[in-house]
Protein backbone atom coordinates (compact mmCIF):
# COMPACT_ATOMS: atom_id res chain seq x y z
CA UNK A 1 0.00 0.00 0.00
CA UNK A 2 1.45 3.30 -1.08
CA UNK A 3 0.94 6.53 0.79
CA UNK A 4 -1.98 8.71 -0.23
CA UNK A 5 -1.96 9.88 -3.82
CA UNK A 6 -2.29 13.57 -3.05
CA UNK A 7 -1.97 14.72 -6.64
CA UNK A 8 -4.93 12.54 -7.57
CA UNK A 9 -6.94 13.97 -4.69
CA UNK A 10 -6.19 17.57 -5.67
CA UNK A 11 -7.07 16.82 -9.26
CA UNK A 12 -10.32 15.28 -8.16
CA UNK A 13 -11.49 18.38 -6.29
CA UNK A 14 -12.52 20.47 -9.34
CA UNK A 15 -14.11 17.41 -10.96
CA UNK A 16 -16.25 16.60 -7.93
CA UNK A 17 -17.05 20.28 -7.34
CA UNK A 18 -19.04 20.32 -10.57
CA UNK A 19 -21.42 17.78 -9.01
CA UNK A 20 -21.82 19.67 -5.73
CA UNK A 21 -24.49 22.03 -7.13
CA UNK A 22 -26.78 19.07 -7.85
CA UNK A 23 -26.31 17.78 -4.29
CA UNK A 24 -27.14 21.21 -2.89
CA UNK A 25 -30.09 21.52 -5.25
CA UNK A 26 -31.53 18.19 -4.11
CA UNK A 27 -31.17 19.18 -0.46
CA UNK A 28 -32.28 22.79 -0.98
CA UNK A 29 -35.44 21.98 -2.93
CA UNK A 30 -36.13 19.04 -0.61
CA UNK A 31 -35.78 21.26 2.46
CA UNK A 32 -38.07 24.02 1.18
CA UNK A 33 -40.78 21.54 0.17
CA UNK A 34 -40.36 19.54 3.39
CA UNK A 35 -40.68 22.72 5.48
CA UNK A 36 -43.88 23.76 3.71
CA UNK A 37 -45.36 20.29 4.08
CA UNK A 38 -44.21 19.99 7.70
CA UNK A 39 -45.80 23.35 8.62
CA UNK A 40 -49.09 22.25 7.06
CA UNK A 41 -48.94 18.92 8.90
CA UNK A 42 -48.09 20.62 12.17
CA UNK A 43 -50.98 23.08 11.87
CA UNK A 44 -53.37 20.25 10.98
CA UNK A 45 -52.19 18.33 14.04
CA UNK A 46 -52.33 21.33 16.40
CA UNK A 47 -55.80 22.41 15.27
CA UNK A 48 -56.90 18.73 15.10
CA UNK A 49 -58.65 19.29 11.78
CA UNK A 50 -60.87 16.23 11.34
CA UNK A 51 -59.95 13.64 8.66
CA UNK A 52 -56.78 15.55 7.71
CA UNK A 53 -55.47 14.98 11.22
CA UNK A 54 -55.90 11.22 10.96
CA UNK A 55 -54.39 11.14 7.46
CA UNK A 56 -51.44 13.16 8.69
CA UNK A 57 -50.87 10.79 11.59
CA UNK A 58 -50.75 7.82 9.22
CA UNK A 59 -48.47 9.68 6.79
CA UNK A 60 -46.03 10.66 9.54
CA UNK A 61 -46.08 7.16 10.99
CA UNK A 62 -45.26 5.56 7.61
CA UNK A 63 -42.51 7.96 6.56
CA UNK A 64 -40.86 7.91 9.97
CA UNK A 65 -41.28 4.19 10.31
CA UNK A 66 -39.63 3.05 7.07
CA UNK A 67 -36.07 3.55 5.79
CA UNK A 68 -35.45 6.40 3.38
CA UNK A 69 -33.80 4.01 0.93
CA UNK A 70 -36.92 1.85 0.83
CA UNK A 71 -39.02 4.96 0.19
CA UNK A 72 -36.73 6.09 -2.64
CA UNK A 73 -36.96 2.67 -4.32
CA UNK A 74 -40.74 2.73 -3.89
CA UNK A 75 -40.98 6.09 -5.67
CA UNK A 76 -38.45 5.32 -8.38
CA UNK A 77 -38.97 1.64 -9.16
CA UNK A 78 -42.30 0.88 -7.49
CA UNK A 79 -44.72 3.62 -8.52
CA UNK A 80 -44.10 3.40 -12.30
CA UNK A 81 -44.93 -0.30 -12.11
CA UNK A 82 -48.33 0.49 -10.61
CA UNK A 83 -49.17 3.52 -12.74
CA UNK A 84 -47.45 3.52 -16.09
CA UNK A 85 -47.81 7.31 -16.45
CA UNK A 86 -45.40 7.66 -13.53
CA UNK A 87 -42.47 6.31 -15.55
CA UNK A 88 -41.78 10.01 -16.22
CA UNK A 89 -40.44 10.22 -12.66
CA UNK A 90 -36.68 10.47 -13.04
CA UNK A 91 -34.10 9.83 -10.36
CA UNK A 92 -33.84 13.49 -9.35
CA UNK A 93 -37.60 13.89 -8.95
CA UNK A 94 -37.89 10.64 -7.02
CA UNK A 95 -35.07 11.72 -4.71
CA UNK A 96 -36.69 15.08 -4.02
CA UNK A 97 -40.05 13.39 -3.40
CA UNK A 98 -38.47 10.90 -1.02
CA UNK A 99 -36.43 13.50 0.88
CA UNK A 100 -39.44 15.84 1.11
CA UNK A 101 -41.82 13.26 2.51
CA UNK A 102 -39.32 11.52 4.75
CA UNK A 103 -38.03 14.68 6.38
CA UNK A 104 -41.39 16.48 6.50
CA UNK A 105 -42.61 13.65 8.72
CA UNK A 106 -39.82 14.27 11.22
CA UNK A 107 -39.97 18.05 10.99
CA UNK A 108 -43.77 18.14 11.42
CA UNK A 109 -43.37 16.67 14.89
CA UNK A 110 -40.74 19.16 16.00
CA UNK A 111 -42.69 22.09 14.56
CA UNK A 112 -45.82 20.83 16.28
CA UNK A 113 -44.00 20.62 19.60
CA UNK A 114 -42.64 24.14 19.11
CA UNK A 115 -46.10 25.52 18.31
CA UNK A 116 -47.65 23.84 21.34
CA UNK A 117 -44.79 25.28 23.41
CA UNK A 118 -45.73 28.89 22.57
CA UNK A 119 -47.42 30.35 25.64
CA UNK A 120 -51.21 30.22 25.54
CA UNK A 121 -51.33 33.90 26.50
CA UNK A 122 -49.83 34.82 23.12
CA UNK A 123 -52.75 33.20 21.34
CA UNK A 124 -55.27 34.83 23.67
CA UNK A 125 -53.73 38.25 23.17
CA UNK A 126 -53.90 37.79 19.40
CA UNK A 127 -57.53 36.68 19.60
CA UNK A 128 -58.36 39.59 21.89
CA UNK A 129 -57.36 42.15 19.28
CA UNK A 130 -59.53 40.36 16.73
CA UNK A 131 -57.05 38.31 14.72
CA UNK A 132 -58.27 35.25 12.85
CA UNK A 133 -56.70 31.86 13.53
CA UNK A 134 -54.68 32.14 10.33
CA UNK A 135 -53.39 35.61 11.20
CA UNK A 136 -52.35 34.66 14.71
CA UNK A 137 -50.57 31.56 13.47
CA UNK A 138 -48.70 33.44 10.78
CA UNK A 139 -47.79 36.55 12.74
CA UNK A 140 -47.49 35.47 16.37
CA UNK A 141 -47.27 31.72 16.94
CA UNK A 142 -45.18 30.46 14.01
CA UNK A 143 -42.48 33.16 14.33
CA UNK A 144 -42.08 32.30 18.02
CA UNK A 145 -42.15 28.58 17.33
CA UNK A 146 -39.49 29.02 14.64
CA UNK A 147 -37.01 30.19 17.21
CA UNK A 148 -37.58 27.07 19.29
CA UNK A 149 -37.61 24.69 16.32
CA UNK A 150 -34.64 26.19 14.46
CA UNK A 151 -31.83 24.07 15.96
CA UNK A 152 -33.75 20.85 15.31
CA UNK A 153 -34.74 21.90 11.80
CA UNK A 154 -31.14 22.75 10.95
CA UNK A 155 -30.17 19.32 12.19
CA UNK A 156 -32.64 17.77 9.77
CA UNK A 157 -31.31 19.94 6.96
CA UNK A 158 -27.79 18.72 7.68
CA UNK A 159 -29.08 15.17 7.74
CA UNK A 160 -30.86 15.78 4.44
CA UNK A 161 -27.70 17.03 2.73
CA UNK A 162 -25.99 13.80 3.63
CA UNK A 163 -29.04 11.73 2.70
CA UNK A 164 -28.87 13.09 -0.87
CA UNK A 165 -25.98 10.65 -1.32
CA UNK A 166 -28.59 7.89 -1.53
CA UNK A 167 -29.69 9.37 -4.86
CA UNK A 168 -26.78 7.57 -6.53
CA UNK A 169 -28.71 4.31 -6.00
CA UNK A 170 -31.35 5.75 -8.36
CA UNK A 171 -28.69 6.46 -10.97
CA UNK A 172 -28.39 10.17 -10.16
CA UNK A 173 -24.82 11.41 -10.58
CA UNK A 174 -24.56 13.82 -7.68
CA UNK A 175 -21.50 14.16 -5.46
CA UNK A 176 -21.63 10.57 -4.21
CA UNK A 177 -22.46 9.09 -7.61
CA UNK A 178 -19.62 10.99 -9.28
CA UNK A 179 -17.16 9.91 -6.59
CA UNK A 180 -18.21 6.31 -7.03
CA UNK A 181 -17.57 6.52 -10.76
CA UNK A 182 -14.21 8.24 -10.35
CA UNK A 183 -13.10 5.70 -7.78
CA UNK A 184 -14.17 2.79 -9.93
CA UNK A 185 -12.05 4.20 -12.76
CA UNK A 186 -8.91 4.86 -10.73
CA UNK A 187 -9.20 2.17 -8.05
CA UNK A 188 -8.15 4.92 -5.60
CA UNK A 189 -11.19 4.42 -3.40
CA UNK A 190 -9.78 5.91 -0.22
CA UNK A 191 -8.58 9.10 -1.93
CA UNK A 192 -11.84 9.57 -3.80
CA UNK A 193 -14.15 9.04 -0.86
CA UNK A 194 -12.09 11.10 1.57
CA UNK A 195 -12.33 14.03 -0.87
CA UNK A 196 -16.11 13.55 -1.05
CA UNK A 197 -16.33 13.26 2.74
CA UNK A 198 -14.43 16.51 3.22
CA UNK A 199 -16.72 18.28 0.77
CA UNK A 200 -19.84 17.19 2.67
CA UNK A 201 -18.13 18.19 5.89
CA UNK A 202 -17.32 21.70 4.68
CA UNK A 203 -20.87 22.28 3.46
CA UNK A 204 -22.28 21.14 6.81
CA UNK A 205 -19.82 23.33 8.72
CA UNK A 206 -20.94 26.35 6.69
CA UNK A 207 -24.53 25.53 7.60
CA UNK A 208 -23.63 25.34 11.27
CA UNK A 209 -22.24 28.86 10.99
CA UNK A 210 -25.48 29.99 9.35
CA UNK A 211 -27.44 28.35 12.16
CA UNK A 212 -25.42 30.18 14.77
CA UNK A 213 -26.06 33.49 13.01
CA UNK A 214 -29.81 32.81 12.67
CA UNK A 215 -30.08 31.85 16.33
CA UNK A 216 -28.53 35.13 17.41
CA UNK A 217 -30.92 37.03 15.17
CA UNK A 218 -34.01 35.16 16.35
CA UNK A 219 -33.00 35.52 19.99
CA UNK A 220 -32.71 39.28 19.70
CA UNK A 221 -36.28 39.82 20.92
CA UNK A 222 -35.79 37.64 23.97
CA UNK A 223 -32.64 39.05 25.51
CA UNK A 224 -32.52 41.88 27.98
Amino acid sequence: MDVLNVDYMLGLVPVLLTYLPLTLQLAGVGMVLALILACLFAVVRVLRIPVLNQLTIVFISFFRGTPLLVQLFLFYYGLPQLVSALTVIDGITATIMGLTMHFSAYMAESIRAAIVGVDRSQTEAALSIGMTNGQLMRRIVLPQATRVALPTLMNYFIDMIKATSLAFTLGVTELMGATQKEAAGSFLYFEAFIVAAIMYWIVVEMLSKLQHYLEIRLNKAYSR
Partner: protein
Protein backbone atom coordinates in the same frame (compact mmCIF):
# COMPACT_ATOMS: atom_id res chain seq x y z
CA UNK B 1 -73.23 50.69 24.98
CA UNK B 2 -72.74 47.19 26.31
CA UNK B 3 -75.63 45.03 27.37
CA UNK B 4 -75.42 41.54 28.82
CA UNK B 5 -78.63 39.58 29.31
CA UNK B 6 -78.81 36.35 31.32
CA UNK B 7 -75.19 35.66 30.49
CA UNK B 8 -74.01 32.41 32.00
CA UNK B 9 -70.95 30.25 31.81
CA UNK B 10 -70.63 26.68 32.97
CA UNK B 11 -67.41 24.71 33.15
CA UNK B 12 -68.76 21.17 33.14
CA UNK B 13 -71.03 21.07 36.19
CA UNK B 14 -69.55 24.16 37.79
CA UNK B 15 -71.64 27.29 37.25
CA UNK B 16 -69.19 30.18 37.11
CA UNK B 17 -71.55 32.84 35.79
CA UNK B 18 -75.18 32.45 36.75
CA UNK B 19 -77.30 34.78 34.64
CA UNK B 20 -75.54 38.13 34.59
CA UNK B 21 -77.67 41.14 33.52
CA UNK B 22 -75.68 44.28 33.04
CA UNK B 23 -75.89 47.45 30.98
CA UNK B 24 -72.95 49.77 30.65
CA UNK B 25 -73.30 53.20 29.06
CA UNK B 26 -70.79 54.71 26.72
CA UNK B 27 -68.09 56.47 28.71
CA UNK B 28 -68.94 54.66 31.93
CA UNK B 29 -66.19 53.30 34.16
CA UNK B 30 -67.33 50.13 35.90
CA UNK B 31 -65.20 48.37 38.49
CA UNK B 32 -66.01 44.77 39.36
CA UNK B 33 -65.00 43.48 42.76
CA UNK B 34 -65.58 40.24 44.61
CA UNK B 35 -63.88 37.23 46.19
CA UNK B 36 -61.50 35.07 44.16
CA UNK B 37 -63.03 32.44 41.93
CA UNK B 38 -66.44 34.09 41.71
CA UNK B 39 -66.41 34.66 37.98
CA UNK B 40 -65.13 38.23 37.68
CA UNK B 41 -62.40 37.37 35.19
CA UNK B 42 -64.64 34.87 33.44
CA UNK B 43 -67.19 37.64 32.91
CA UNK B 44 -64.62 39.85 31.18
CA UNK B 45 -63.30 36.92 29.15
CA UNK B 46 -66.82 36.08 27.99
CA UNK B 47 -67.37 39.66 26.79
CA UNK B 48 -64.21 39.33 24.65
CA UNK B 49 -65.24 35.77 23.66
CA UNK B 50 -61.97 34.43 25.04
CA UNK B 51 -64.39 32.08 26.76
CA UNK B 52 -67.45 30.85 24.93
CA UNK B 53 -70.39 31.77 27.20
CA UNK B 54 -72.89 28.98 27.80
CA UNK B 55 -76.07 31.03 27.35
CA UNK B 56 -77.41 34.55 27.11
CA UNK B 57 -77.25 37.48 24.75
CA UNK B 58 -74.64 40.14 24.41
CA UNK B 59 -74.82 43.57 22.79
CA UNK B 60 -71.83 45.73 22.02
CA UNK B 61 -72.60 48.89 20.08
CA UNK B 62 -75.04 47.98 17.31
CA UNK B 63 -74.30 44.25 17.30
CA UNK B 64 -76.39 41.83 19.36
CA UNK B 65 -75.67 38.13 19.44
CA UNK B 66 -77.22 35.12 21.08
CA UNK B 67 -74.02 33.57 22.37
CA UNK B 68 -75.12 30.07 21.41
CA UNK B 69 -75.95 30.98 17.85
CA UNK B 70 -73.11 33.40 17.23
CA UNK B 71 -71.37 32.61 13.96
CA UNK B 72 -67.63 32.66 13.64
CA UNK B 73 -67.88 36.04 11.89
CA UNK B 74 -70.05 37.47 14.67
CA UNK B 75 -67.64 36.27 17.34
CA UNK B 76 -64.79 37.92 15.46
CA UNK B 77 -66.81 41.10 15.12
CA UNK B 78 -67.61 41.07 18.86
CA UNK B 79 -63.96 40.59 19.70
CA UNK B 80 -63.03 43.54 17.52
CA UNK B 81 -65.46 45.78 19.41
CA UNK B 82 -63.86 44.94 22.74
CA UNK B 83 -60.25 45.10 23.89
CA UNK B 84 -58.56 43.20 26.65
CA UNK B 85 -55.78 44.04 29.09
CA UNK B 86 -54.31 40.91 30.65
CA UNK B 87 -53.06 40.36 34.16
CA UNK B 88 -49.76 38.97 32.83
CA UNK B 89 -49.56 41.69 30.07
CA UNK B 90 -49.34 39.02 27.31
CA UNK B 91 -47.44 41.30 24.97
CA UNK B 92 -46.41 39.65 21.71
CA UNK B 93 -42.93 38.45 22.65
CA UNK B 94 -41.65 38.60 19.07
CA UNK B 95 -42.67 42.22 18.55
CA UNK B 96 -41.41 45.58 19.80
CA UNK B 97 -43.55 47.96 21.84
CA UNK B 98 -44.39 49.88 18.67
CA UNK B 99 -45.24 46.72 16.73
CA UNK B 100 -47.39 45.41 19.58
CA UNK B 101 -49.53 48.51 19.41
CA UNK B 102 -49.61 48.72 15.60
CA UNK B 103 -50.43 45.02 15.12
CA UNK B 104 -54.19 45.45 15.31
CA UNK B 105 -54.17 48.38 12.88
CA UNK B 106 -51.92 46.57 10.39
CA UNK B 107 -53.46 43.12 10.46
CA UNK B 108 -57.09 43.51 11.43
CA UNK B 109 -57.89 47.02 10.21
CA UNK B 110 -55.45 46.77 7.29
CA UNK B 111 -54.16 50.30 7.60
CA UNK B 112 -51.18 51.23 5.44
CA UNK B 113 -47.91 50.75 7.32
CA UNK B 114 -47.03 54.39 7.65
CA UNK B 115 -50.42 55.39 9.02
CA UNK B 116 -50.49 52.47 11.48
CA UNK B 117 -47.04 53.23 12.87
CA UNK B 118 -47.88 56.93 13.01
CA UNK B 119 -50.92 56.15 15.16
CA UNK B 120 -48.92 53.67 17.27
CA UNK B 121 -46.32 56.39 17.94
CA UNK B 122 -49.07 58.77 19.08
CA UNK B 123 -50.27 56.13 21.52
CA UNK B 124 -46.73 55.47 22.77
CA UNK B 125 -46.53 59.21 23.39
CA UNK B 126 -49.79 59.12 25.37
CA UNK B 127 -48.64 56.22 27.53
CA UNK B 128 -45.30 57.92 28.11
CA UNK B 129 -43.15 55.31 26.40
CA UNK B 130 -42.07 57.09 23.22
CA UNK B 131 -38.47 56.18 24.01
CA UNK B 132 -39.32 52.48 24.21
CA UNK B 133 -40.72 52.17 20.68
CA UNK B 134 -38.10 49.63 19.59
CA UNK B 135 -37.80 47.75 22.88
CA UNK B 136 -38.94 44.14 23.05
CA UNK B 137 -41.13 43.05 25.98
CA UNK B 138 -38.29 41.03 27.52
CA UNK B 139 -36.33 44.27 27.95
CA UNK B 140 -39.12 46.24 29.64
CA UNK B 141 -40.20 46.45 33.27
CA UNK B 142 -43.55 45.01 34.31
CA UNK B 143 -45.05 48.47 34.53
CA UNK B 144 -43.83 49.41 31.07
CA UNK B 145 -45.11 46.14 29.64
CA UNK B 146 -48.54 46.67 31.11
CA UNK B 147 -48.67 50.23 29.78
CA UNK B 148 -47.89 48.86 26.32
CA UNK B 149 -50.63 46.28 26.96
CA UNK B 150 -53.02 49.16 27.61
CA UNK B 151 -51.68 50.97 24.54
CA UNK B 152 -52.36 47.89 22.44
CA UNK B 153 -55.94 47.90 23.73
CA UNK B 154 -56.27 51.65 23.01
CA UNK B 155 -55.17 51.11 19.41
CA UNK B 156 -58.13 48.84 18.76
CA UNK B 157 -60.50 51.80 19.09
CA UNK B 158 -62.84 49.31 20.77
CA UNK B 159 -66.12 50.36 22.37
CA UNK B 160 -64.90 49.08 25.72
CA UNK B 161 -61.57 48.11 27.25
CA UNK B 162 -61.71 45.15 29.62
CA UNK B 163 -59.06 45.20 32.35
CA UNK B 164 -58.49 41.84 34.03
CA UNK B 165 -56.61 42.54 37.26
CA UNK B 166 -54.13 44.75 35.39
CA UNK B 167 -51.93 45.45 38.41
CA UNK B 168 -52.04 42.10 40.19
CA UNK B 169 -48.82 40.75 38.63
CA UNK B 170 -46.89 43.96 39.11
CA UNK B 171 -44.20 44.65 41.65
CA UNK B 172 -45.59 47.34 43.98
CA UNK B 173 -43.25 49.97 42.53
CA UNK B 174 -44.96 49.77 39.11
CA UNK B 175 -48.59 49.76 40.26
CA UNK B 176 -49.00 53.53 40.39
CA UNK B 177 -47.85 54.21 36.83
CA UNK B 178 -50.36 51.70 35.48
CA UNK B 179 -53.22 53.00 37.63
CA UNK B 180 -52.21 56.51 36.59
CA UNK B 181 -52.59 55.62 32.93
CA UNK B 182 -55.97 54.02 33.63
CA UNK B 183 -57.09 57.18 35.41
CA UNK B 184 -55.97 59.21 32.42
CA UNK B 185 -58.11 57.00 30.15
CA UNK B 186 -61.02 57.30 32.56
CA UNK B 187 -60.78 61.09 32.46
CA UNK B 188 -61.06 60.86 28.67
CA UNK B 189 -64.29 58.87 29.20
CA UNK B 190 -63.02 55.68 27.65
CA UNK B 191 -65.62 53.02 28.49
CA UNK B 192 -63.94 50.56 30.86
CA UNK B 193 -64.78 47.39 32.74
CA UNK B 194 -62.13 46.79 35.37
CA UNK B 195 -61.66 43.75 37.59
CA UNK B 196 -59.30 44.79 40.37
CA UNK B 197 -58.43 44.52 44.02
CA UNK B 198 -57.25 48.15 44.04
CA UNK B 199 -60.03 49.52 46.18
CA UNK B 200 -58.76 53.08 46.13
CA UNK B 201 -58.90 53.04 42.33
CA UNK B 202 -62.46 51.72 42.53
CA UNK B 203 -63.46 54.42 44.99
CA UNK B 204 -61.78 57.31 43.17
CA UNK B 205 -62.37 56.46 39.53
CA UNK B 206 -65.39 54.19 39.14
CA UNK B 207 -68.80 55.51 38.17
CA UNK B 208 -70.23 52.27 39.37
CA UNK B 209 -68.93 49.42 41.50
CA UNK B 210 -70.32 45.94 41.00
CA UNK B 211 -69.91 43.26 43.64
CA UNK B 212 -70.01 39.73 42.29
CA UNK B 213 -70.19 36.58 44.36
CA UNK B 214 -71.07 33.04 43.32
CA UNK B 215 -71.40 34.02 39.66
CA UNK B 216 -74.12 36.60 40.36
CA UNK B 217 -74.26 40.36 40.77
CA UNK B 218 -74.98 40.75 44.47
CA UNK B 219 -74.94 44.50 44.70
CA UNK B 220 -74.04 47.49 42.57
CA UNK B 221 -74.00 51.24 42.86
CA UNK B 222 -71.79 54.30 43.01
CA UNK B 223 -68.60 53.78 45.02
CA UNK B 224 -69.80 56.02 47.83
CA UNK B 225 -72.72 53.67 48.37
CA UNK B 226 -70.87 50.35 47.98
CA UNK B 227 -67.89 51.31 50.10
CA UNK B 228 -69.55 53.33 52.83
CA UNK B 229 -73.06 51.93 52.95
CA UNK B 230 -73.13 48.35 51.60
CA UNK B 231 -76.50 46.60 51.96
CA UNK B 232 -75.82 42.92 51.42
CA UNK B 233 -74.05 41.01 54.22
CA UNK B 234 -71.74 39.34 51.66
CA UNK B 235 -70.62 42.74 50.38
CA UNK B 236 -70.00 43.93 53.92
CA UNK B 237 -68.06 40.79 54.74
CA UNK B 238 -65.91 41.02 51.59
CA UNK B 239 -65.15 44.71 52.08
CA UNK B 240 -64.23 44.17 55.70
CA UNK B 241 -61.71 41.52 54.69
CA UNK B 242 -60.22 43.30 51.72
CA UNK B 243 -60.03 46.72 53.34
CA UNK B 244 -58.14 45.18 56.23
CA UNK B 245 -55.34 44.22 53.83
CA UNK B 246 -55.80 46.94 51.17
CA UNK B 247 -56.90 50.07 53.02
CA UNK B 248 -58.52 52.73 50.86
Amino acid sequence: MIKLESLSKHFGKAVVLDGIDLTIEKGEIVVIIGPSGTGKSTLLRCVNFLEQPTAGTMTVGDLTVDVNRASRAEILSMRRRTAFVFQNYALFANKTALQNIAERLLVVDRWPKEKAYQRAREILEQIGLADKADAYPAAMSGGQQQRVGIGRAMATGAEVILFDEPTSSLDPEWVEEVLGLMKQLASERQTMMVVTHEMSFARDVADRVIFIDGGRIVEQGPPSEIFYNPKDPRTKDFLKKILATNPV
